[in-house]
């Protein structure tokens, strides 16, 4: 029996989809059987980030409406045997699926997979309600910005109201140098406000843009620091005790590397 984890944030553009793709790929790389479920019906992206867009024939709406069998809609990843995607529909909207249908879907999926990871749409409306309906654990993604933290706080409240206790927090796109200068909220500032456990911190990394555009998750890039952060988070979800990576030390390493190749 697997685990159903929803990845949510409230605010848009903080990195839910990127996080879902990377943690999912990270767990699959560890040898787990993983299915990623895109519940952002009408604005689907997860398939693009994973580079699987051109394989979609059936989607989540077809499954919940009984137009096809679950097996037909699941797309096998091209890199990992254990990674699967259940894509969202693009030509429908959020009302095409109900929370009850999602609950049933998650129950079916977790029989076959070790991890069912749900990519939640932005907002707190129907799409959010669908996404959390079948979930057992929640991961909240935020960036070190007041607006994103405010929305994360609201989301944590809604998750608790939906009996999803103790959500974990991911702080995305942190810039250690700006934090040092006092121009950006620090990890402690954010945890102070949200009062939840940290799952991981992802440093700002240009490589994320590159890998996302290519449809290859950053976890597969050994040199990508954000990828390293996601690898650590995957291991933490799988139950390992991995210390937080030292963001500043890594900064030093990068500048050393830059000096080495003459960038300064």
């Amino acid at each position: 029996m697997g685990e159903v984890i929803v990845i949510t944030s409230g605010k848009g553009g903080v990195g839910k989809t990127t996080t879902t793709a990377n943690i999912g790929t990270g767990l699959a790389a560890l040898g787990h059987k993983v299915v990623l479920v895109d519940t952002d019906i009408g604005l689907r992206n997860l398939d693009v980030v994973l580079g699987l867009e051109n394989r979609i024939v059936y989607d989540i709406v077809d499954v919940t409406h009984g137009n096809c069998r679950m097996k037909q809609a699941l797309i096998k990843d091209k890199r990992f045997e254990g990674l699967h995607l259940l894509p969202a529909a693009q030509t429908k909207d959020k009302t095409a699926v109900t929370p009850d249908q999602m609950r049933e879907l998650c129950d079916n999926l977790k029989k076959e997979f070790d991890y069912v990871i749900i990519d939640c749409p932005a907002g707190i409306e129907q799409g959010f309600k669908n996404a959390i309906a079948g979930a057992e654990r929640a991961v909240v993604v935020t960036t070190p910005e007041v607006s994103a933290v405010r929305d994360a706080d609201r989301i944590i409240g809604l998750l608790e109201a939906a009996e999803l206790r103790e959500p974990k927090l991911i702080i995305n796109r942190l810039r250690p140098l700006m934090v040092k200068r006092g121009d950006m909220m620090s990890i402690d500032d954010i945890i102070d406000i949200l009062a939840v456990d940290l799952l991981g911190v992802v440093p700002e990394d240009e490589l994320i843009v590159v890998t996302t555009n290519k449809g290859e998750p950053a976890v597969l890039d050994g040199n990508c620091r954000a990828g390293q952060a996601y690898r650590n988070m995957a291991r933490r979800i799988a139950g390992e005790d991995v210390p937080l990576m030292d963001l500043e030390a890594n900064d030093g390493f990068v500048s050393k590397l830059k000096k080495l190749i003459g960038f300064k």
Binding site: G42, L43, E53, N54, I56, V57, K78, Q90, T91
Partner: protein, 204 residues
């Protein structure tokens, strides 16, 4: 196929996710100027042989037989015309964007681009006067002779009848010429579009 649900009957169905398309895209039957909107054509179908000026009254008219020579100019009677005008065709004069879905029981012609995330599903052929980057399904009701052609044929996924294809993984080369996809010997092949190719094959 899953999209067949929309293609029952001979009715015009143009479906889009957010806004319904209607007046700005009149469907026309090629070669029959007396047929306007497809729903009309559908009603008139049994009396297509009628003279174009009084189509409604003709069935009651006992003396409509002498008008029969008018048939010569209709699609049904003229094999030459039949070769060209076999289906309804819809013309879409704008960009089809992500999330929009055009379903039509006939040919679809798009004057504009078809962006990724959109779908064109046609019972007949699909012609895109622009870049085709979305999902396209020609011959959705099972017609294996349906074709897909576009100025830039780079679809996310290309389906003809019950065949599904996609571009190979890896670096994508943008097409330089208009191309046409069709089924040949049970496989979907994509070739540079050549003028007159279709006409030759139809008559010959």
């Amino acid at each position: 196929m899953k999209k067949d649900k929309g293609s029952k009957g001979k009715k015009l169905f143009v479906k889009k996710a957010d806004d319904r398309l209607s007046e700005d895209s009149p469907a026309k039957s090629k070669g029959t100027p007396d047929e306007g909107v497809p729903s009309m054509a559908e009603k008139k179908k049994p009396e297509k042989s009628a003279a174009p000026d009084k189509p409604d009254k003709l069935p009651e008219k006992p003396d409509h037989l002498p008008e029969k020579p008018a048939r010569k100019n209709t699609v049904e009677s003229d094999p030459w015309q039949q070769a060209f005008a076999d289906d309804n065709t819809i013309l879409i004069k704008r960009t089809v964007r992500s999330g929009q879905c055009i379903q039509f029981d006939g040919n679809v012609v798009v004057m504009g681009d078809v962006n990724p995330g959109s779908e064109i599903i046609a019972a007949g052929n699909v012609v895109v006067m622009g870049a085709l980057r979305g999902v396209v399904h020609a011959g959705a009701t099972g017609r294996e002779d349906a074709t897909v052609s576009a100025f830039k044929l780079q679809p996310t996924q290309l389906r003809i009848a019950n065949h599904i294809t996609r571009a190979p993984d890896g670096d994508y080369v943008a097409p330089e010429h208009p191309e046409i996809a069709r089924i040949k010997d049970g496989v979907v092949v994509i070739e540079t579009y050549q003028m007159g190719q279709d006409r030759q094959s139809k008559i010959g």
